[in-house]
Symmetry: C2
Subunit: 292 residues, 2 copies
């Protein structure tokens, strides 16, 4: 059973689960676990790990269109080193500060692998779900995609500072709140743009047709991509990007853009489910970040 099948199973058993975050009486809660082997390439600092792990949960709060209020993290490592722990907490505090949330501590433990479990809390009266996109809507993405794909190349190339810098993404909490009144469906691109579109399509029972030349690609992708095909794969098929992907009525696009504190790119349209997920008219593979 791969992670997506398992998550689907979990969602079926639990009515409040199955979106980026659960919402109980207006309280938003989401949790994520990250591991050294799969999530923190060699060279990732503990400061970056603190930022990124807590940021991943804040991004899930953002994806509900909610205000982020607080976060906690549980930290396990083979040994607890003072400087590493301080750096981790500093990163966690800084990413919370960046979105106006409070980092309120956590748990510590020894474990065989460096592992972080972060939980973020938020508040919203009107959560935006993955379901709700309608044919004719515009599909949009905040910021630029491919940032994590570029970061992974930077780490591979031993360009550690650049890798860490790219890894510390800004969670789109303010953008999520600005888009919430307009969006019919929203999620974050933590599994990559292509996979996110497939997940939105499944939850909303629609299709998508996006245009490659409208997809905003991070500058760093250009630096590391080996050719045009590689550039496309880095931008759409790697994931862990933490931008917001949303659908909204075409008439709202102007207002949504005006409200959003980050650039909002209209990358295509919502189609009927029978059309599937397409880029430039061709089927877009459901590729991205999946733990097998």
């Amino acid at each position: 059973m791969d992670e997506r099948s398992a998550l689907r199973r979990l969602a079926a058993a639990l009515p409040a689960a199955g979106d980026d975050a659960a919402v109980v009486d207006g309280l938003v809660v989401t949790t994520d676990m990250l591991h050294e082997a799969t999530d923190f390439p060699a060279g990732t600092t503990r400061y970056t790990a603190g930022w990124r792990s807590v940021g991943a949960s804040l991004s899930d709060v953002a994806a509900m269109g909610a205000d982020a209020t607080a976060a906690v993290a549980a930290y396990a490592a083979p040994s607890l080193v003072e400087e590493e722990l301080d750096a981790f907490v500093e990163g966690a505090v800084d990413v919370c500060d960046a979105v106006g949330a409070e980092y309120v501590g956590g748990d510590l433990d020894t474990g065989t692998e460096f592992t972080v479990a972060s939980t973020a809390l938020g508040e919203t009266d009107a959560p935006v779900r993955r379901s709700g996109a309608e044919p004719g809507n515009v599909v949009c993405v905040t910021g630029t995609v491919g940032r994590t794909a570029a970061a992974l190349r930077a780490f591979e190339a031993d360009d550690v500072d650049r890798g860490n810098d790219l890894f510390r993404f800004p969670p789109r909490v303010a953008a999520g709140q600005a888009l919430a009144p307009h969006a019919t469906a929203m999620m974050d691109s933590s599994d990559g743009l292509a996979r996110s579109l497939h997940q939105l399509a499944e939850a909303s029972e629609v299709g998508f047709d996006v245009s490659w030349d409208r997809i905003p690609v991070h500058d760093a992708v250009e630096e590391y991509a080996t050719d045009a095909a590689d550039r496309k794969r880095m931008a759409t098929g790697v994931g862990e990007d933490f931008e917001l992907v949303c659908a909204l009525p075409r008439a709202s696009l102007g207002d949504a853009r005006a409200a959003s504190p980050v650039p909002l790119s209209a990358i295509g349209t919502v189609t009927e489910a029978s059309e599937g997920v397409r880029m430039d008219g061709e089927p877009l593979a459901d590729e991205g970040y999946t733990h097998e």
Copy 2:
């Protein structure tokens, strides 16, 4: 740096941390990470793991005297097996049901070691801290101690059903709320009774003098203890018991007992800090559950 030093460091950096749970605007949040090697002996079922890991976080909510509202868990294992995951979720849901909280899902991941990170949420207008105990107060404990020590012996003896049964402790959420109006200080005994008394003593700047013959010991300890010294160690020095330890004014003891849905034993008195932590007049070693 052992876990306690690290937690102290974390608490110093974060004003909201340093107790069983953080409290932000009346919202209680706490997170815990548990690992197969240290927390789930061979024979622990996934149902029990779900119950126990989520229960540990609910116990932290209880220790603040708060109502438990919701919980999430992140689950990592070398492979995601359907039956194991179903059993885990069932245990998590059942322990939440037992205290009137809602289990709202979580995250799934593959990792080298079976690891669970659970987060519980609660609400309270008047959290009970570890600080606040005053000389002359009575020190009390809910239920009975030594349950986990007995469970570990059961697992060692291959009495797996008994071990699992003992491992599925009832989180004292209702008791915590009943005691909150009376308690001057409270925490759960997740590090063992002796260590909990030392932690309360440190936070409240007091001492304790408890009597061994007043400490309520779980029946199963009797079954597995090899002699009188072993019985004492199992009851006070092993930990992970998840009972509540609190201090309250002597005049409130009757009311607190009447309010508590579980037996409340008065095991001694709060003394001056200079007296230290004593049992039957002798220093009680600060022994218990510490990850080195």
